[in-house]
Each structure stands twice: as C-alpha cells, then as structure tokens.
Symmetry: C2
Subunit: 201 residues, 2 copies
DNA sequence: GTCTATACCATGATAGAC
DNA sequence: GTCTATCATGGTATAGAC
C-alpha cells in the first residue's frame, strides 16, 4: 500500500522476525494463558534463543501486549470494514461470529477473561488502551444504532450490552461444548450467538 | 446432625484448622487465581508454617480442589433446598443469582473459567467430578422442567443451556461493570440475569 | 502436627563473545 | 542481533528437631 517501500533488507527481515515472534506468542497465549506461557517456549517455537527475544521486546508483559494489540487492530479493521448498509444488529452479530471463529481456530479471545497479571499489564499500556477505546467507541455506536432500529433492548445501558458481547467472545462455553465434540464448530458458534442475542427464554 | 458427636478434641481441632486453610485458599483463589496463588501466601493467611500445609494437603492442586469441592457441595445444598413448588425457571434464576452474589462478596466462581492447570487438576479429581456430575444432573432436570413449562427454548439442547448458565456465573462482565462503579451490586446482578435469560433483543 | 531450615527446580532476565 | 552460559528469584516440596 505504501508508496515508500524502500525498507532495507535488514529492516524487512526484522519485521518478519518480529511477526513470527508475535505469532508464536499469540498461539501460546491462546493455549496456556499468560501466566503459564514461558519465554523459553516462545523462543523454542520461533526457533531462536531466549535472549534474542529480549532484544525485540523488553519484557514478557510487553510481548503479550504486542500480541493483544495486533489482535485489537485486526478487530478494528474488521469492524471498520463491515458493510454499513446492513442493519446494525447484523453487524454486531458478524463481529461476535468473527471473534468466535478466530477462537475456534486456536486464536486469542478479544478480551482477557481472567483476573490475571496480564490484564493489569494491559491496563497500563497506553497503546493498548487507545486501541481498546477506539473499539469501544465503534461498537458503542453500533449498539446505539441497533437500539434505534429496535433490535436491541433500550432498557439496557450500552455499556452493559458491550461487555456482554465481549464476554461472549471469551465464553468458556465454547471449550466445554467442544470437549463433548457432539456439535460441529458452526453449531457451537450458532448456539453462542443465539443464547447471547435471543436469551434462553 | 450426627448422633455420634464423639470426636476427640484433637480431631475437632483438626477439622477447624482444615476449614481455616480451605477458607484462606478460597479467598486467595478468588483474588488471584490458581497460578498466582502461592503456598506461602496461604500459610501466611492461616498463620501457620508452609510445611504444615503439606501435612494436611499433599499438593497445591489438592488444596485448590478441596476448596472447589466445598463450593460445589454448598451449591448442591442450595439447589436441593430450593422450593420445589416454584416454577423451574425461577429456581434456575435463583441459583444463578446466588452464585453471582457469592462472587460479589469475594467468593469463587462455581466453575473455573480459565484454561488453566487448575481445570486439568480438577478433571482428574474423582471426588470433584462426582460432585459436578451430581450438580449437572440436578440442573439438567430443572432445565428440562423449565422447557416443559414453556419458559426455556426447546430448540436449545439442555447441555447448551447448562453451560450458558455456568458461564454466566463466572462472567467477566461482572468485574468490568464493577470497575466503573456506576451501578450497585444488585443492578449488576440484575443485568447479568436479564441478559442471560432474556437476551439482548 | 507444628516449626525452622533447606533442597531442588523452573523461570524471567542479563552478560559478553561473535 | 544472535548465540551460550549464567544469575537471581521465587515457588513446590521435604527433612528433621521438638
């Protein structure tokens, strides 16, 4: 896209390498969570020495934050790319479905569910907070549009709807339903979507 | 209750001590989660030496399991004590409300939400599994009764409803809504209940 | 069964040569 | 910027005296 592709080979290699590091972090974070993920594992999965990791990222927290920030930016791009002529409720459902599909493929949940040190670290990361506020803003607008269109209950504060959708994206129900492997991935996603938006009644 | 209260002083003291240990574990587990909870902290909160812990419980996993089992047994007692003449849907809501109130008071969520080593340990604990299956059975009956009474959608498998309710009891939305401290505890619980059963539409 | 003291190990992080 | 080698910390678990 850029009109200035004149990055030196070294710089390009650096970017590729750092992407690989963040990829590995992403996988391990999804699989084991922040606390159980070790820098040794990340290094092993990338195929470099642990010390080299620290040349790219100053700490474990910073590394995890980089992965979460990339995920948030992908989410932002997805939300911005939604067809604006669709009903707002469809757009919201698309976002949640997309997030659940990522998790199904072994990706990260959009939000840290746990009461962990990662959440603390992220809340102190200005870049992360900035992206999160952008996403909250966009989603908040969608939710209010959906309210105006009569497809979201008006007695629920927008904030409550927002967190409810976020929470659904990291819902352990997905894991539990998959364990029984009685349902296909698509069915599980359908159940999560309909229980979220339509309720149990 | 028992007609044989003839426990020696020593045995009674033992029970009291073990209860105190499980209490401390419960609190720390709720506050920091399994991985970040250390045996030093537990010992310090009880006021005994760390080595003494290991005379009561053979490992950290066993200690955490004891706390989770006690919680499950309390939950079972609550469910069994529900007024059976109430509509099944009211009973279900009462269970979820009760679980959320416990969390509000700093207690544990009924189910481990996280992809953590604790979950693995619990799944290998026969006593825990036994209690969990008892609870699943009772809750499953309630859900099917509610379906028959027309207050739960019949197109949702009972299993899906069950996990959805469980997931709600450890929903991070509770934490996030409390952070903004814009709503009272009762309001937060009301939001969680209504979004779960009535949905967002 | 409780304590003090300690063995043992995994992990986050760093030093220094190339 | 990558490597090998190492440190420092903190955590699980145990030994042995009382």
């Amino acid at each position: 896209m850029s009109t200035e592709p004149k990055l030196s080979f070294k710089q390009q290699q650096l970017i590729v390498r750092e992407n690989a590091i963040v990829d590995a972090t992403n996988n391990l974070l999804a699989k084991k969570g922040f606390d159980l993920m070790t820098m040794d594992e990340v290094a092993a999965e990338v195929g470099i020495a642990k010390a080299s990791l620290y040349k790219h990222f100053p700490s474990k927290e910073a590394l995890a934050a980089a992965a979460m920030i990339r995920l948030l930016e992908n989410t932002l791009a997805f939300v911005r790319g939604l067809a604006a002529d669709q009903p707002a409720i469809s757009q919201l459902k698309n976002v949640l479905q997309w997030a659940l599909e990522i998790r199904m493929k072994g990706g990260l949940p959009t939000l840290p569910a746990e009461n962990t040190s990662l959440r603390d670290a992220l809340l102190n990361n200005p870049r992360y907070i900035s992206r999160l506020m952008d996403l909250n803003e966009l989603m908040g607008e969608l939710i209010e549009k959906a309210k105006a269109e009569g497809s979201i209950r008006k007695d629920l504060p927008t904030e409550v709807v927002l967190f409810t959708v976020y929470a659904r994206s990291c819902d352990p129900t997905l894991d539990y339903l998959r364990m029984g492997d009685q349902y296909s991935d698509d069915q599980v996603i359908h159940f999560l979507l309909t229980t979220c938006f339509d309720g149990l009644h």
